[in-house]
Symmetry: C2
Subunit: 415 residues, 2 copies
């Protein structure tokens, strides 16, 4: 799809027309300086689509969203309330009750149906989520706005071990004759740093657009964007109980309703995927303890599934990730990870490059300058290219290096 996307400086969930947001300290966390509740409100009811964790231990807010959106699918929504500090997971019927009461309360404050409110939570598992903080929803709504600072506050409010908020937005001028000259926008924010692995990659991601789209088309576009973005990130191979990606589409920028299958829809899909991919990269960059973004490109695979198997095995290998932390161009571990992945190939046909430097050709090591390797490891993004020599399929997975800080962060997170 040939569409020119324009990144919006500081753009996030309030970049698209017709959405306001905020982040406040509502009381989910003890520290009064920490924002812990994000509120996203659309001026009008929107098409809503959602993709959720596949974990059997599925948190109460995920169950509520699935109920609202017909499983993993689509429906209608006006508002999303998300909190950090407590995941409302493994909390049983009591947790479900709090989630539903929260939605009811937000609906009352916003002035919509309870069925039009979605709920997301992230934080510690197994601790009862208090209802009281939701009583600050009216205060949140009062300060919700459309400025990028407002979206920024929401992005901050959903952070847990993240070291910085993650936002991205793009706009494009449609070339579809039906929407000539109209500029649409897709913007989103997400949080995620540990317990990051498909399917889904991020614990919470909220995306908004003023593009006009039907429910089924919104869900299809979101599923594809999530597969190309968040589902290609792995920080530690652990899948969370709360992974949630919600898209709200209000059509506010369009003068008339959407025509399916048009050029405009393809443009929208391209933009949505670009936003999800960029947010996914931001998650990998901010992986717990990470000092380097690692991009694993697998080519020459016999099938798409083989490409994914090999790339994921490399990206999840603690030996590969610790080697990168140690600035060690250890192609042997990359080869061994590909070899154990289950992908079909012959070792005599494998080529590996680290940061553009050939280190293996036809299954045999190629001598290289260790000094040059060390120099290239100073880059913030480490690119590994693996050609399996077995076919035409390819994929890309993002991860990060594996450092002492990951151990420190996770060795005493709860206590």
């Amino acid at each position: 799809m040939n569409v020119e996307l324009n990144p919006i400086p500081h753009g996030g969930i309030t970049a698209a027309a017709g959405f306001k947001a905020t982040g406040i300290h509502a009381g989910f966390r003890r520290n009064p300086n920490k924002l812990d509740m994000a509120l996203l409100v659309a001026d009008e009811p929107c098409v809503a689509a959602g993709v959720f964790t596949q974990n059997v231990f599925c948190a109460a807010p995920v169950q509520l969203c699935k109920d609202r959106l017909n499983g993993e699918g689509y429906g209608t929504a006006r508002a999303v309330v998300a909190n950090s500090g407590n995941a409302n997971a493994a909390t049983g019927t009591v947790g479900l009750d709090v989630a539903y009461r929260a939605a009811e309360h937000v609906a009352e404050v916003v002035g919509c149906l309870p069925e039009e409110v979605l709920v997301a939570s992230t934080g510690v598992i197994g601790v009862p989520l208090p209802f009281e903080p939701y009583e600050n929803t009216a205060a949140a709504l009062a300060q919700a706005g459309t400025a990028h600072e407002a979206g920024h506050a929401a992005a901050i409010a959903i952070m847990t071990t993240d070291t910085h908020p993650k936002e991205y937005a793009v706009s494009w001028e449609s070339k579809d004759p039906a929407f000539a000259g109209i500029t649409f926008t897709v913007g989103g924010c997400c949080k995620g740093s540990g317990m990051i692995m498909p399917n889904m990659a991020t614990m919470i991601s909220l995306v908004t657009t003023d593009f006009p789209v039907t429910g089924p088309a919104a869900y299809a576009a979101l599923k594809a964007a999530v597969d190309a973005g968040f589902n290609k990130v792995t920080v530690d191979s652990d899948t969370s109980t709360n992974d949630t990606c919600i898209l709200l589409a209000n059509g506010a920028a369009a003068p008339h309703s959407y025509v399916a299958d048009g050029v405009a829809y393809e443009e929208f899909c391209t933009a949505l995927t670009a936003v999800c991919m960029e947010l996914a990269r931001k998650i990998a960059i901010d992986g717990e303890g990470a000092t380097r973004l690692v991009t694993v490109n697998v080519t020459g695979a016999a099938t798409d599934a083989d490409a994914d198997l090999a790339a994921r095995a490399i990206a999840n290998s603690p030996l590969v990730k610790t080697a990168i932390a140690g600035r060690d161009a250890n192609w042997g571990r990359i080869a061994a990870a590909a070899g154990k992945s289950g992908a079909t190939f012959e070792q005599e046909k494998v080529d590996i490059d680290i940061m553009g430097m050939p280190v293996m050709r036809a299954g045999l090591p190629v001598s290289f300058s260790e000094e040059e390797a060390l120099r290239r490891f100073e880059e913030p993004e480490i690119v590994l290219d693996i050609n399996l020599g077995a076919g035409e399929c390819a994929t890309r997975i993002w991860t990060c290096d594996f450092t002492h800080d990951y151990i420190s962060i996770n060795g005493d997170y709860r206590t």
Copy 2:
């Protein structure tokens, strides 16, 4: 099988009758104080069985062994030569040539056919293996012996990042009328610390027995023992290119040839499995950077495959392993790992115990004393019990905690 196994103090690969061994510094490593070549020689040709890595990047010595033993299977052998410091992996036809020349040279020194020599290597991948050190085989043979110190030297010579040698042997008096009053022995050694994950668990394991067994029966027994032992260990989810487990059975303790399907064979299988399980536990205890052995017991699974999926997901979860390193009874991460594993169960039926302390019942947290938990975490073995409430199947997986030292060891192993 009701057989009384007697552990042999300091027992290893020379515990069974008719085997001698040694470990010498042959020159594979630079440090002259580090043993780097293990030689195991049987007085007579033995039944030999082997189980090997499933990694596509399969090292030259593994290819040689598979050639000798009809793939992963059985054959005849007199000697095994194993080196540390260099894995002879990703070394192409040159590496294969060195492995075959090594076997030829050892055969000449020992006085057997080249086809009766097996070769194993462990260490750095992708560096050409020199042939010269093998020229010290005669010196090794001269000092090979049957004392447990001799087997101990061999166990030391195959160590890489292992912090101590791993050996175990048991004997039993047969209750089979055909072998009344005869005492048989199974003993083994292994090395393995990192790049440890099924299938196979260890890079090198050598096991000997004086029990009389046919090739097919030896292979069947070894496969079952490896599945119950080494294949249930995971240190870091990485499968090596060199994993090798070789069994030599000489029948030296038996007055006559073996009768299949008898009580004696069942006794032997029990003993062989016990040796492989104990060696496997020793690998987990000595996992790179490990401070705790972690035993994951999954019960109540719908199928054996589900039990394995759930136990392996928990044992491989960096979040679970770092929590244990941090002495944190974080049942939420255990639940989340089981939930992402792909095993079928309902969260409302899950029970979890940490060190015998109930922490989750019916999917909901159970309050427990953090002080008591900290006390129990002082034990050298941490036991996690997870009942999925979905059926009758069960399994046990061994792993270790995940500490700063794992990162340090693997951050600059090669350089």
